[in-house]
């Protein structure tokens, strides 16, 4: 469960995110969309506790991030668009390290199916430098899923994946949401959001333009037309340009 109330993020005098409020319940997948510079990554990084919010409250799985960040972070996982790996740890050592950080007792029994799911089991003793971009992405995801988080944040989750990897990633997100995970993902790939998300939140210049289920948002911007896709909705909601 994610509850965000009045989230504001300023960089100096520049407001990247303004008074953002929304909630995502278990089983829901919220798609965060908006043009470049809309504040998607800033929002995600605030939600994951990576950067401090300038104002507002964020509750993750019942824990207020500003007051009890450790409990909140124990429940979440953040997947950046660019995998950030330790160059000198092998795949297996990455999982070992993360297990100790999160205190995952039986990490080997959890890690093996994860590695199998992401098809990197045979790379277990390789360093990140020996992996392709997609493999690194898969390893970062496996590390994030090791402690079985209830809340998942994805920033452009399909970057660098091959077509099969994309399909698996989509299925993985849907499966985890069905299992009760709360998921927020940010992407420019609107067809991904249509396939995966139950809800959507459109941002522009740090402000919420619209949010709700896909059907609700579509209805708001359809102007009475039927069969309007998310791309058309996005363009209408954001004015069709970054400005």
């Amino acid at each position: 469960m994610i509850e965000v109330q009045g989230l504001t993020k300023r960089y100096g005098d520049f407001p990247a995110v303004r008074e953002l409020s929304f909630a995502v319940r278990p089983g829901e997948v919220l798609g965060l969309v908006g043009p470049n510079g809309a504040g998607k990554t800033s929002t995600l990084r605030c939600l994951a506790g990576i950067i401090p919010a300038s104002d507002g409250t964020i509750r993750i799985a019942g824990h207020e991030l500003a007051i009890d960040p450790v409990s909140a972070k124990r429940a979440l996982a953040f997947f950046p668009d660019e995998p950030r790996l330790f160059e000198y740890l092998t795949v297996r050592q990455h999982l070992n390290f993360v297990a100790r950080i999160y205190g995952v007792r039986d990490h080997e029994t959890i890690a093996r199916p994860l590695l199998e799911e992401f098809e990197i089991l045979d790379k277990a003793d390789q360093l990140p430098g020996e992996l392709s971009r997609g493999m690194k992405q898969k390893l970062a995801i496996a590390c994030g899923l090791l402690h079985q988080p209830q809340v998942l944040f994805f920033d452009e989750p399909l970057t660098g994946l091959d077509p099969l990897g994309i399909r698996r990633m989509k299925n993985s997100i849907i499966r985890r949401a069905r299992a009760g995970a709360t998921i927020v993902l940010s992407s420019h790939l609107l067809h991904l959001l249509e396939e995966v998300c139950t809800h959507v939140l459109i941002l522009k210049k740090g402000e919420k333009i619209a949010d709700g289920t896909l059907a609700e948002v579509a209805q708001r911007f359809s102007n009475g037309e039927s069969g309007v896709n998310l791309e058309e909705i996005f363009l209408r909601a954001t004015g069709g340009s970054e400005d």
């Binding site: 000198y88 100790r100 990490h107």
Partner: protein
């Protein structure tokens, strides 16, 4: 086409200079620039207008008022310089194992390789770039050499002389790499080529030694320890064919730099220029396909650069995987996970097993030395050397052992997601350099304790019990001292991330030099302040305690008291840095991407 490439180079240089000037608006660069410029002025530019102390006229006696090297050293300097230069050239032919690459950047490859530019134009572009580097290098080296009193000439002749040296080295490197690539394409293996090149050089030297005049050979053989005889022998060898023939172009290149006055400088210009032109023709005519290796080299270089900028070691991602330093259980103190991770990032011999073996070897070595009557006079020297090394490591070690938050700032967003308090992350990150430096300092203390054995007459108060207690006491407080030392640069990285990142920027410049000097000065001041209470406490305990319990016991109590105080300081520092890490706004540096 060359005009476009020249435009690219010059525009880039101009924009680089502009951006350097523009960033002086930021106080961190402005203050650094002021300190750096002051340093350069007082140590180099102030002396530019002055002539270095002249070499003595013939027949004059060298005395304390003439801090110059005598004139007769010039042939020796020339000969040694030429031989050194020749060795450098030999290495250019011996060492390389890769194909010619010419050192293009990734951006240059992306833009220039697909462009309608001939290979020869690309080579000219690289030569142009290296010329700019040679000019900068010559200017910098001139600042040093202008103060070398043994040389003649002035700042201008030195700068031009250095340019000839750098240019010819650069061109020779390019020409040699092309030639070596051609040889490789002809089927010459690397080791076959190395063997032949080595054999050729060895033959030249051997024949020259064989052809040495009898008096030179005699002076060498009859005065093995006499430096003058050895240098005279080297000079004669350098003047003996065939080595002398090989050194002709080298002397030509060194000529402008070593010219004693303007006339000699002008006379030396022609031959030097001739060598450079011949090198240029050689490079242009021997060019081979270099594109593939240029791309591979550019990727490696950019990976190294990225690693360096992130504060990581120069090791690239191609490093082999390592065995776990110790078995990391899935549960337990999470701080140990950082120790485990960071030990994996460093050299594999920073392990407990290696430390114990080293301690055993050093102990055995010191005991053996004690039993050698001839070694006895050196023992104290070895001991002092070991203790000095320990002190040096204690002070400068944190600059080398950087397996802490400084290396992981690039992963700060990942660390921030972990369910840990800030102090836990800081403590965990500090563990590896603390362990490494403590272990090394302990080894130096061990050697010091075993070797430094002053006689009871020279230092009667330094009895065996006092020495043992002092050594153990120092060993006891070493981890805390090391941790305290490490806290300072880590605090700098967290409190002034912008400054810390700035010191990792490449390209030098007075502002970066100044920033580094400020950091070192701040570290010394901070450490002095942090150690003051502990030193005062130890002094009081020893002063009072030696009357009550004797010196040895007082030293023991002083060590424990100091340790408690230092641990308190370290604890406070870790907690403070932890809160800073929790509040660190990762969005402030670099600029927001969202």
């Amino acid at each position: 086409m060359l005009g476009a490439l020249l435009y690219l180079r010059l525009t880039s240089a101009r924009n680089w200079a502009k951006s350097r000037l523009r960033r002086l608006r930021q106080p961190k660069y402005l203050v650094g620039a002021i300190v750096g410029c002051a340093y350069f002025y007082f140590f180099f530019f102030r002396h530019l207008g002055r002539q270095p102390t002249r070499r003595l006229p013939d027949g004059a006696v060298l005395d304390a008022t003439h801090a110059a090297l005598p004139t007769e050293w010039l042939p020796v300097t020339t000969a040694l310089g030429a031989v050194g230069f020749l060795i450098l050239l030999a290495l250019i032919w011996l060492v390389p194992s890769q194909r010619a690459a010419l050192g293009f950047t990734e951006a240059e490859i992306a833009f220039l390789f697909p462009a309608p530019i001939t290979r020869r134009a690309l080579i000219h572009f690289r030569l142009l770039s290296s010329q700019l580097r040679s000019l900068v290098g010559a200017a910098v080296m001139m600042l040093f050499s202008n103060r070398w009193a043994v040389l003649g000439g002035n700042a201008v002749t030195h700068a031009i002389g250095w340019w000839f040296i750098f240019s010819s080295l650069n061109l020779h490197f390019s020409g040699a790499s092309f030639t070596l690539t051609r040889l490789a394409d002809l089927g010459w293996s690397v080791w076959r080529r190395r063997l032949l090149v080595f054999a050729a050089f060895a033959t030249v030297v051997a024949v020259s030694i064989h052809r040495l005049p009898p008096e030179a050979a005699a002076s060498e053989s009859h005065a093995p320890g006499d430096l003058r005889a050895i240098t005279a022998w080297v000079v004669t060898l350098a003047e003996t064919a065939p080595l002398a023939w090989l050194l002709v172009p080298v002397h030509a290149v060194l000529g402008p730099f070593l010219a004693i006055d303007t006339r000699h400088f002008l006379l030396a210009l022609g031959p030097a220029l001739g060598v450079v032109i011949l090198h240029y023709l050689w490079v242009v005519r021997s060019a081979v396909a270099f594109e593939d290796s240029a791309i591979a080299q550019a990727q490696q270089r950019s990976a190294r650069l990225a690693a360096w900028r992130e504060g990581r070691s120069r090791r690239t991602a191609t490093t082999r995987s390592r065995r776990d330093p110790f078995a990391l259980a899935a549960t337990g103190r999470p701080e140990l996970a950082f120790l485990w991770k960071n030990l994996l990032s460093t050299w594999p011999y920073f392990r407990l097993r290696v430390f114990l073996v080293a301690a055993a070897i050093l102990t055995a070595g010191c005991v053996w030395l004690h039993r050698q009557p001839t070694a006895a006079p050196f023992l104290a020297g070895v001991g002092v050397l070991a203790v000095s090394l320990g002190a040096y490591l204690l002070i400068l070690g944190p600059q080398f052992a950087r397996q802490d938050i400084r290396s992981d700032l690039g992963h700060a967003d990942v660390l921030r997601v972990y369910p840990l308090r800030g102090w836990q992350i800081i403590l965990g990150e500090l563990l590896t350099p603390v362990c490494i430096l403590t272990a090394v300092v302990w080894l130096t203390l061990l050697v010091g304790a075993l070797c430094f054995w002053p006689s009871t007459t020279s230092a009667p108060w330094l009895s065996l019990p006092v020495r043992v207690t002092a050594s153990l006491g120092l060993a006891l407080i070493t981890p805390a001292l090391v941790a305290l030392q490490l806290l300072v640069p880590n605090a700098a990285a967290l409190l002034f991330p912008a400054w810390f990142q700035a010191t990792r920027s490449r390209g030098g410049g007075p502002e970066v030099v100044g920033q580094r000097m400020i950091f070192v000065f701040a570290q010394i001041v901070a450490m002095a302040l942090a150690l003051l209470p502990a030193a005062a406490l130890a002094a009081v305990i020893i002063a009072v305690g030696q009357w009550l319990w004797g010196t040895a016991v007082a030293v023991g109590f002083a060590s424990v008291g100091t340790l408690v105080l230092l641990v308190g300081e370290v604890g406070g520092g870790v907690w403070f840095l932890g809160t800073r890490f929790e509040r660190l706004d990762l969005s402030a540096e670099p600029p927001p991407s969202a």
